[in-house]
Symmetry: C2
Subunit: 246 residues, 2 copies
DNA sequence: CGCGATTTGTGCACGCCTTCACAAGCGCCT
DNA sequence: AGGCGCTTGTGAAGGCGTGCACAAATCGCG
């Protein structure tokens, strides 16, 4: 975690409700809280304590309370948080009430899986267009959509109201695709290609590199092995849960 | 980002080289540096300055120097870093010289893509076994391997020397699979299921939730939209690169 | 051999995030 | 109505990570 520091809203005296200036670390945890809350709602819970929700989300209860306090006071002392109300609040903050339209570029190995991943639809996103530069792929049906050539991206972004682009191409093509997405008006990019993208100010990029996650685990394996090898090294360390994305 | 605080190596006076106690944030960036270094090596560079490598990895040069200084002094003032030497060092630290054996559990939509992802093999990992609980899937060939029933996991872990498990099952099955992996002796787990896993001390879990990444981007879209809507809101913010992990 | 240009390695200060500990508030029971 | 137990919300402290700015070190050239 590093940059991504955005300006606040200085003299916001308009009728529009002030957009809360949440810490980046808090934002990254809100989706996790949201998922836990949906589970609780399904199991019939009306309210939940910070302790209970924290356990379900895998975090410290103090951290959870501080995170939620940034959104405003939606809890009742002595009782807990109203599950349904909190769900609405978090979904509003995250902008999920708009069911954002997503474009997926690159329908190779990974792209196929992403196009068919039902976890997107169930959590507020619609993949509305698939693109590829390979003529072999263009025209093929995939998950209810037809793969289109990347030249059509600009038009599709406008017509479908796309605001988020997902890049699942090889690393060599990723920068060109990013440029195309930006030119088309997309301002948020999720990049699965193992490379650094250069984008203009105002465009947000998040990166997911599957191999990097394994390499981090590999480091801890290496460390654990070296600890158990030396005399005095303990074989059990308090290693534990760790989420990506900070 | 949160826990994962491991004990240091107190009285390490043995012949085994002291395992460096790297900050977690540094560890998360090492794989990125490694990728950039491989690119540089391929293009024929013998040495690289901190400025150059930082640009290739998408970070600040001061941060890069501090990160590398934790590994020891492998640079030459006035010249830069020896690319080949640094690659060896980082690969050693990350434990990649052992080409770790990985087990993949769940060959559904996402599992298929992971099994065929060549980015693993090219970066030090071998997927050596595929598992599923669905009898329909068991026996099918996939990426040069045959899908096995999850009951065989314990035996396979020992025989193949598996140290890392990847969970690509639905959320409902993930905890049971994690328990099986731990029981079989696996001490590192990469979890793609959208749920919190409970594991004993000494086992490391990293989580990748594709929908969460989109939700974080959605938040920034929402924020940007609300900024441009109010008078005085600027339409271009210094949003920028942001990696997951850490 | 000495000097200047270049680049690393790091001490320091700042800011963010986490965690503790507790006061304030709410509901329930008597 | 009053008191008691429970839970939230938050002030303060501590730790971690980042980035600046500079001293130390190395190479190349005259």
């Amino acid at each position: 975690m590093s940059q991504q520091r955005h300006g606040s809203t200085p003299g916001n005296t308009g009728a529009v409700p002030a957009f809360p200036d949440l810490p980046e670390a808090t934002i990254a945890r809100l989706p996790e809280y949201l998922r836990a809350l949906h589970n609780l709602a399904e199991s019939g819970s009306e309210t939940v304590s910070s302790e209970g929700l924290a356990a379900a989300a895998g975090v410290n209860s103090a951290k959870l309370r501080k995170d939620l306090s940034h959104l405003g006071s939606y809890g009742t002392r002595g009782v807990g948080y109203d599950v349904a109300l909190l769900i609405d609040q978090i979904e509003y903050i995250l902008g999920l009430d708009q069911r954002r339209a997503v474009a997926l570029v690159g329908v190779g190995n990974l792209g196929h899986a992403l196009a068919g991943y039902d976890g997107f639809a169930s959590r507020g996103f619609r993949i509305v267009a698939l693109f590829d530069s390979d003529a072999e792929q263009v025209g093929k049906p995939l998950g209810g959509l037809t793969v289109r050539h990347i030249d059509e991206l600009g038009r599709a972004v406008v017509e479908e109201g796309i605001t988020i682009g997902v890049i699942a191409t090889p690393a060599g093509a990723a920068q060109a695709v990013a440029d195309d997405l930006v030119a088309a008006g997309v301002t948020s990019i999720l990049n699965f290609a193992p490379c650094v993208l250069s984008v203009p100010p105002g465009v947000d990029v998040r990166k997911v590199d599957l191999a990097i996650e394994l390499q981090i685990l590999s480091f801890h394996e290496h460390r654990k092995a070296s600890l158990t090898a030396i005399p005095g090294g303990r074989s059990a360390q308090p290693g534990n849960q760790e989420a990506v994305g900070s």
